[in-house]
Symmetry: C2
Subunit: 368 residues, 2 copies
């Protein structure tokens, strides 16, 4: 393996590609590369037995809520063909372990723990945000009620930490401490997000929204990378750099997700045109536009957040003219560039870092 | 220290005292014994700094929900004189550690973790059950809304396991695994309880209700005792016996709590007369009466669960005549007797076991 560091040129070229990837994703490109598809398939194959074991250990009827949520069963208990989520987070755990010279097989419990924790947040966020669709199916709370969705989420959080507590790997203890701290951050992120949604638009800053995106999205992606590093026996600096890599890639992902939420192709996003705008979501391009000095920002402020369906195109155009879209694209590219720089700090060999970089690029090119 | 085992006679005498304690509690006796009061005061003194440290580590505004819930602050952030709960669970952790020859000081983090976990369940159960009062104050969800109460509970669960994950004590890892498994059981208990409340009265069995009481109340009390034993370096059999002691004492407590909920003095329980009955609660004496063959059980079934205020006395009398009260008192005494037997298995020296026995008796004599 080469000892060569990723150069700044290479890092900024990668960032440039991400910048280029945004319109591509919007216009229908940016599919799952074969490399990433294979990595995620391998991840699901390795991690799903551990996930099923954890879920099967749940007592009685509660298991049904979780198997429904994961897409393994229909609401009435019949088996379903769902494969759960994309397995990006467990994919990051295993890829990080491998990239740092560890054994992915030894990190499967850590990967399962991160996926259980992620699904805990999904169950609760859906209740709190009253979201009715998840992975193209009705959300658990719409099927089983709030109480059961809350309790199933609670149990998944406990299971996530139980899987780590039961793991004999020497890094399991530190991984549990890190995941538990991350979970506190995730809760805080959702809490601040809820508070921001209730606040008037002119009392929300871009820094607050970036903070929410980091806590809600970046923290667990960073934690996934850090856990993989811990399981590979990496040192403190490498672990922290891997965490920063995941966080920055997570922010880039969120920025692009917000762009797609406004200008994406409904056929690919699975959401009706303007759904985020009509919901009055304080997404990053919207807040960038609202907090700009541009005249178009003031025009948007008059329409937002009680947007009429007839004004969706006008609002999207105003966000664009106020610089919200450019700002988000530039930010995404910058964050991706920082992610790449952190990755090269942790893993100087570009070949070894390849799987992680491909995963990060997949995340930021995704179209739904 | 004496090596003498608690004799069966002593155990059944203790159980007999518990049986005797029920009417005493109901009629206004059963106060906190000086020994227990001192033990709980010492517990609070030792554990509160650890609790506050954990809560202070929470980011931002979320801390306020938790400090309110603990009674440390008013809703507007002014300091309040609340002392949190009675500290029974952390008291059991420390008393178990001491009784088994360990250092209570070394088990303070375990005690704090159990108390954080307990408060996680309180926050969520209050949301799910729509309870409006907790520790004589409005519940957190009534003050801060459902979303924040759910998220604060989520964060407390994560904090509980983080406190253990950060603890350097050699038993901390096993304690975390045990607490996480217990949390899954608590969630399942609340889930089944919610399901039972939605079911017609004639489709609820006494075994199901006892199962709920064990999962919701017994499991965490057992876990508290088991954690104290783990921290004292006890062997597997002792740890399991301590868990069983806490579970059985917890069931005795729940049975007596249910008796007090029907026949207790409102001035002492803090609840209006017949509140549990008017809420249609499927408490243990009620279900015992409904599932009996007695004519009074059929009479109750006609009134329940849509009880009119004018029928509260009639319903309480019917439960009594159908044997619901006697059954609950006998069960409580039996459970307490089993608790004492388990305690003497784990700790043959009655003097060493004294603190734990006093705590269990305090729990089953409490009046509110």
């Amino acid at each position: 393996m080469s000892e060569r560091m990723l150069t700044v040129d290479e890092a900024s070229r990668t960032a440039g590609e991400v910048r280029g990837a945004v319109p591509q994703a919007r216009e229908g490109g940016g599919g799952e590369s074969q490399e990433v598809a294979a990595l995620l398939d391998r991840t699901r194959e390795a991690v799903e037995p551990e996930l099923r074991k954890a879920v099967d250990s749940m007592p009685g009827t509660m298991r049904r809520i979780v198997t429904y949520h994961f897409g393994w069963e229909h609401a009435d208990g019949r088996p379903a063909a769902g494969r759960g989520g994309k397995a990006i987070r467990p994919g990051l755990v295993l890829a990080a372990a491998r990239a740092l010279g560890g054994s992915p097989a030894a990190a499967v419990k850590a990967a399962a723990a991160v996926e259980l924790a992620h699904n805990f947040t999904l169950l609760h966020d859906d209740v709190i945000d009253r979201d009715s669709t998840r992975r193209h199916r009705p959300t658990a709370w719409t099927v089983f009620g709030d109480a059961d969705a809350i309790l199933a989420g609670d149990a998944l959080q406990a299971l996530a930490l139980r899987v780590l507590a039961d793991d004999q790997h020497p890094a399991a203890g530190r991984a549990a401490a890190r995941l538990a701290a991350c979970l506190v951050e995730l809760c805080e992120g959702q809490h601040v997000d809820t508070a921001l949604e209730d606040r008037p638009c002119d009392q929300v800053t871009l820094d607050e929204c970036l903070g929410v995106a980091e806590a809600k999205t970046g923290a667990l992606l960073g934690c996934a990378c850090a856990l993989g590093a811990l399981y590979a026996g990496a040192g403190v600096e490498q672990v922290e750099a891997m965490d920063a890599f995941g966080r920055q890639a997570g922010l880039a992902f969120q920025l692009i997700d917000d762009i797609i939420g406004i200008w994406g192709d409904p056929a690919r996003t699975g959401k009706p045109v303007g759904a985020d705008l009509l919901a009055g979501k304080k997404s990053l391009p919207v807040v960038a536009a609202l907090t700009s000095d541009a005249a178009a920002g003031a025009e948007l402020a008059e329409l937002y957040p009680a947007l009429r369906p007839a004004d969706v195109d006008r609002a999207a155009a105003a966000i664009d003219r106020a610089g919200g879209r450019d700002w988000a694209q530039t930010q995404a590219a910058d964050r991706m560039s920082q992610a790449v720089a952190q990755l090269s700090r942790a893993i100087p060999d570009p070949e070894a870092a390849g799987g992680l970089l491909a995963l990060a690029e997949f995340m930021t090119r995704r179209v739904s």
